[in-house]
């Protein structure tokens, strides 16, 4: 029997030994291609949830022939149940800025933006103080790069990268058609790297410790560690950095209250794992990926209410642009209500599951595509709770 796979790690928040400026200064002496190869080699994947290999993103953007390129830090943390970026922004913002600068140096960008969730504006003052110092320090290192902060206005959809660009450009926050992808045409139509807050911190740590130490953690598909936001029916809710690759069972053993009936992995847009699947489900890209949100529900919870809340959230937060998402979310919400009220037969849930499938296939962006995740996993595993 191998060791328990759940291991607490402390890379993101440990500040003592990481002099971020020193890391930056040393990294700026390196060859940009080498830096990118290092990031590729580390196996780092985006920590926002989608999990695109960070190094490849950088490489694609670097290869684009454009005088202007951008680095954007996506700090529009809006997924229900996720609050780890807020903690990172409050406690180790310099690691984020250094990660952005390393990216800017590697891909040839002179400007970076941090897109801050509107609800996190209380952090602005402090962030700007650190940022002013950072921008000055970076100049003194002889690297022409400036970071500034743009505030969101409270729309969940603006965490979707192309909607985020639209919002930054002063337009209505609506996802764009892809292709072109941000690496080719992002903010202002220029090649853009957009990374999650935590991803950029990992960049700083990989630059300091080397790719190997990061790569040695986790599994083949899910390297390194991840910051989790643990909430719900747990005696120890909070932020935890854990090595990737554990099963839901191991997670529940650590965080559950002894009566956990399901875990919602990845927030409202993630999957619901019922107790019977705890042992077989790995948290990571080979199992169920997550942007960090882990919500535990014990047997006192109605899964109908859980799903209903999620659907209300999506019906409200869909940008409304594309049919499957705008109308689909409303139909799923009104549909489960109708079944619960016996206005539609239980079989209507199957029509709704089919609809969720269509939303997954035909929606324009990740929001509409992912509504099927909670819907199908909750309806399949807790069907009786939907009906009675």
């Amino acid at each position: 029997m191998k060791d328990k796979k759940l291991k607490k790690v402390d890379l993101i928040f440990e500040n003592v030994e990481c002099n971020a400026y020193e890391v930056l200064e040393n990294t700026l002496k390196r060859d940009p291609d080498e830096i990118i190869l290092d990031i590729i080699d580390s196996g780092l994947k985006g920590r926002g949830g989608a999990g695109f290999p960070t190094g490849l993103k950088w490489k694609f953007t670097k290869n684009e022939d454009s005088a202007v390129k951008y680095v954007i830090c996506n700090a529009d943390e809006g997924e229900p149940g996720t609050f780890k970026d807020r903690e990172i922004l409050s406690r180790v913002p310099l690691k984020i800025f250094v990660g952005m600068a390393i990216c800017g140096y590697a891909i040839g960008a002179k400007e970076g933006f941090l897109y801050l969730r509107g609800e996190y504006n209380f952090l602005l003052k402090e962030l700007n103080v650190i940022l002013n110092d950072f921008n000055a320090r970076i100049k003194s290192m002889g690297f022409d790069f400036t970071v500034s902060i743009k505030s969101g206005s409270g729309a969940y959809i603006c965490g979707e990268e192309s909607a985020l660009f639209e919002s930054m450009e002063g337009k209505r926050g609506e996802p764009r058609n892809k292709p072109p992808y941000p690496t080719v045409s992002g903010y202002n139509g220029k090649p853009t790297v957009i990374n999650n807050v935590e991803t950029l911190c990992h960049v700083t740590m990989i630059s300091r410790l080397g790719a190997k130490q990061f790569k040695d953690m986790g599994t083949t598909d899910s390297r390194g560690s991840k910051v989790f936001s643990v909430s719900g029916d747990t005696p120890i809710a909070g932020i935890y950095e854990l090595e990737l690759g554990m099963t839901v069972q191991e997670f529940v053993d650590e965080f559950g209250d002894g009566d956990t009936k399901s875990v919602q992995v990845g927030g409202a847009s993630g999957h619901c794992v019922p107790r019977k699947n705890f042992k077989d489900t790995i948290i990571g890209f080979e199992g169920i990926p997550t942007g960090g949100s882990m919500m535990l529900f014990n047997s006192s919870r109605s899964m109908y209410n859980v799903l209903h809340d999620y659907l209300e959230f999506f019906a409200e937060e869909s940008c409304g642009q594309c049919t499957p998402c705008r109308v689909g979310c409303q139909q799923l919400l009104k549909g489960v209500e109708a079944v619960k009220r016996k206005e539609r037969p239980p079989q209507y849930l199957d029509d709704l599951k089919k609809l969720a499938g269509t939303m997954k296939l035909a929606s324009k962006c990740g929001l509409g595509q992912s509504v099927a995740n909670p819907f199908i996993s909750i309806v399949d595993n807790f069907r009786e709770e939907m009906i009675y």
């Binding site: 729309a155 959809i157 209505r172 058609n177 292709p179 999506f314 019906a315 409200e316 937060e317 869909s318 940008c319 409304g320 642009q321 594309c322 049919t323 499957p324 705008r326 109308v327 689909g328 979310c329 409303q330 139909q331 009104k334 549909g335 109708a338 029509d351 089919k354 609809l355 269509t358 997954k360 296939l361 035909a362 929606s363 324009k364 595509q369």
Partner: protein, 598 residues
């Protein structure tokens, strides 16, 4: 588009298309029809209705064929089970938020959503009816021109893109998100209180009946059936080249005389021609231009503004009232042909026919929705009555013909009635972009030099065509003594159609970087032939065919210069005196009102 060819397979058939081509266009090349809804050839790609999704081998999701460019080696399936299921589901969703009140709808039989639903045999009861459950939709009938019914809106945003991209107006915009998302106006104000120019281009591109003209069909039928009323009708130049389309003919058919016949069958007491007052407009506007030139060039009068712009297009007039109120003195004071006709109908015509003005009901058939608004303007009551009582669009006339049970094809050709039924080729070409300019030049040049314009067959080709902004310079030589001050002068003209182009041109005038004497502007793409009251669908190919028909009509007429219109000459002799005379000033000219930019 790139020269580089991309090879792909669609439904197992190979095709090579230039890089940058969309999957939709590549499929069309192979004659595979992919249904669309939010896609329209005149505007940018949105990719938001998701009706056109197709399967791309190896892709995680389906892709929107209208918004996805082809790539090398791509394998596409346009009709797989996965595609059919998703597409049907999407159509069901659209219907669930749509007020499928089809039998009462103006678009019944010409509705893209209805067509999709019937093609996929989709009923409206699969999902929960969102119109009923959340329905606080009201129909906005505040505007005399455009009616907006949100319960029929499927949020394709074609209207929004049209209003922004083609017209630079942005009266319509997307507001709210998710379940609350809808198409609205600035601060949700009613349509008659916003920057809307009533051009109706949104109606032309609305796939459903969410946007339509305010219809006055019932009022017109009532008037026709009222024996105490003398109901006269005028028909605009662009109607005759488009009316055939909703009656089952191909675009580009000229049906002038069948249309006259149909109007007589319907029961109008007198069928007359707006072309008559188009010719009259040329007399007034041409004289106004020459007078302005004289005042500026000879008298040094700085209160007179150049360039002078045309004023026939009520969409354009309202646009400049909102956009450049400081340039209103540059707009010709001439009323549009419709309103000149209206003012004369209840004065000159009444007098000649021995009728009382209050017994006349004056109806006009227009390719335009803004004409409905124009007829309602308080300035347009110079006869002492509402000069034009009801304005119907080309589409409404087609519906009237259908309602009357008329077999249009078998109708005999008939001539317009007299008086005010005479027209020239110059009047006809008002219907195409550049036409007013051409007609004005034919007349003004001849007034100044006593000779015809120096263009073969009177066809001033440089002012024709579909380029958004066009320029032409006419050198004036051999002036008569009265116009000697223009000898050797180069008359600089510009033409714009579509309000985005108009905006660009007037911006240059406003900033002082453009130096013209005379500018023709039409609010709609292609001019009146592409007007907001014309048959649906519209696209560049259809507009080009209508334009060709207009120029053919001009060519076929015995008189092709406005000043040679015998009824116009008679009108001046018997009633008006001379162009810009006292009576003209009272009846045929107007003033404008500065408005704000919202």
């Amino acid at each position: 588009m790139s020269e580089y060819l991309v090879n792909l397979k669609i439904n197992d058939m190979s095709v090579s298309v230039p890089e940058g081509t969309t999957i939709l266009d590549a499929a069309r090349k192979l004659n595979f029809k992919i249904p669309t809804l939010c896609h329209h050839p005149d505007i940018s790609v949105a990719g938001n209705c998701r009706v056109c999704v197709v399967e791309q081998k190896g892709a995680r999701t389906l892709v929107a064929s209208c918004a996805t460019p082809v790539s090398e080696g791509m394998e596409i399936f346009t009709n797989s089970m996965k595609v059919r299921d998703a597409r049907k589901n999407v159509i069901e969703l659209l219907l669930s938020e749509h007020n499928a009140d089809c039998t009462k709808c103006f678009k019944n039989g010409n509705c893209e959503l209805q067509e999709l639903a019937s093609e996929y045999r989709v009923g409206d009861h699969v999902f929960i009816d969102l119109v009923k459950t959340s329905g606080v939709h009201t129909i906005d009938i505040s505007s005399p021109a455009i009616q907006k019914d949100d319960s029929k809106c499927v949020r394709c945003q074609r209207c929004v893109r049209t209003c922004h991209e083609i017209q630079h107006v942005s009266a319509l915009a997307v507001v709210g998100k998710g379940e609350h998302q809808r198409i609205s106006t600035f601060l949700n104000k009613p349509m008659n209180e916003v920057v809307c120019t009533n051009c109706g281009q949104c109606i032309n591109r609305c796939p459903t009946g969410a946007l339509s003209e305010r219809s006055y069909l019932d009022e017109v039928w009532d008037a026709i059936n009222d024996e105490t009323k003398h109901v006269i009708v005028q028909t605009a130049p662009a109607v005759r080249v488009a009316l055939a389309e909703p009656l089952g003919f191909d675009p580009g058919n000229r049906v002038t005389h069948k249309m006259v016949s149909a109007l007589k069958h319907i029961g109008f007491d007198s069928v007359l021609d707006t072309d008559f007052t188009a010719d009259l407009t040329i007399m007034e506007e041409g004289t106004e231009l020459l007078t302005r030139l004289k005042k500026v060039l000879v008298d040094g009068d700085t209160s007179v503004k150049l360039p002078m712009t045309t004023s026939c297009s009520p969409g354009w007039v309202k646009f400049i009232e909102h956009t450049y109120p400081s340039l209103l003195d540059n707009v010709s004071t001439c009323k549009s042909p419709q309103q000149m006709f209206g003012a004369l109908a209840k004065t000159y015509y009444a007098q000649k026919k021995g009728l009382k003005a209050q017994d006349i009901v004056s109806v006009s058939i227009m390719p335009c929705t803004a004409k409905k608004y124009e007829a309602d303007r308080p300035e347009m009551r110079d006869s002492g009555y509402k000069d034009v009582d009801y304005v119907l669009t080309t589409r409404e006339l087609a519906m009237m013909i259908k309602q009357a049970g008329i077999d249009f094809e078998s109708l005999p050709d008939m001539e317009y009635d007299r008086i005010m039924g005479d027209s020239t080729g110059a009047g006809v070409i008002f219907g195409a972009t550049g036409g007013v300019m051409e007609a004005a030049l034919r007349t003004a040049y001849e007034i100044v030099t006593g000779r015809e314009v120096p263009f073969k067959n009177l066809d001033i080709l440089p002012v024709r065509g579909f380029e958004g902004i066009r320029e032409a310079t006419v050198k004036i030589e051999g002036c008569t003594p009265e116009w000697n001050f223009l000898e050797g002068a180069e008359l600089k003209c510009a033409i714009a159609h579509g309000l985005e182009n108009a905006y660009q041109l007037m911006k240059a005038v406003y900033e002082g970087t453009a130096h013209y004497h005379f500018i023709e502007i039409m609010a709609c793409p292609g001019g009146c032939l592409g007007g907001g009251g014309q048959p649906i669908p519209t696209n560049q190919e259809i507009r080009a065919k209508r334009a060709q028909a207009i120029y053919d009509e001009d060519k076929g007429l015995p008189i092709r210069k406005s000043h040679e219109n015998p009824e116009v000459q008679q009108l001046y002799k018997e009633f008006l005196g001379q162009p810009l005379g006292h009576k003209s000033h009272t009846l045929l000219h107007t003033h404008y009102k500065g408005r704000q930019r919202y």
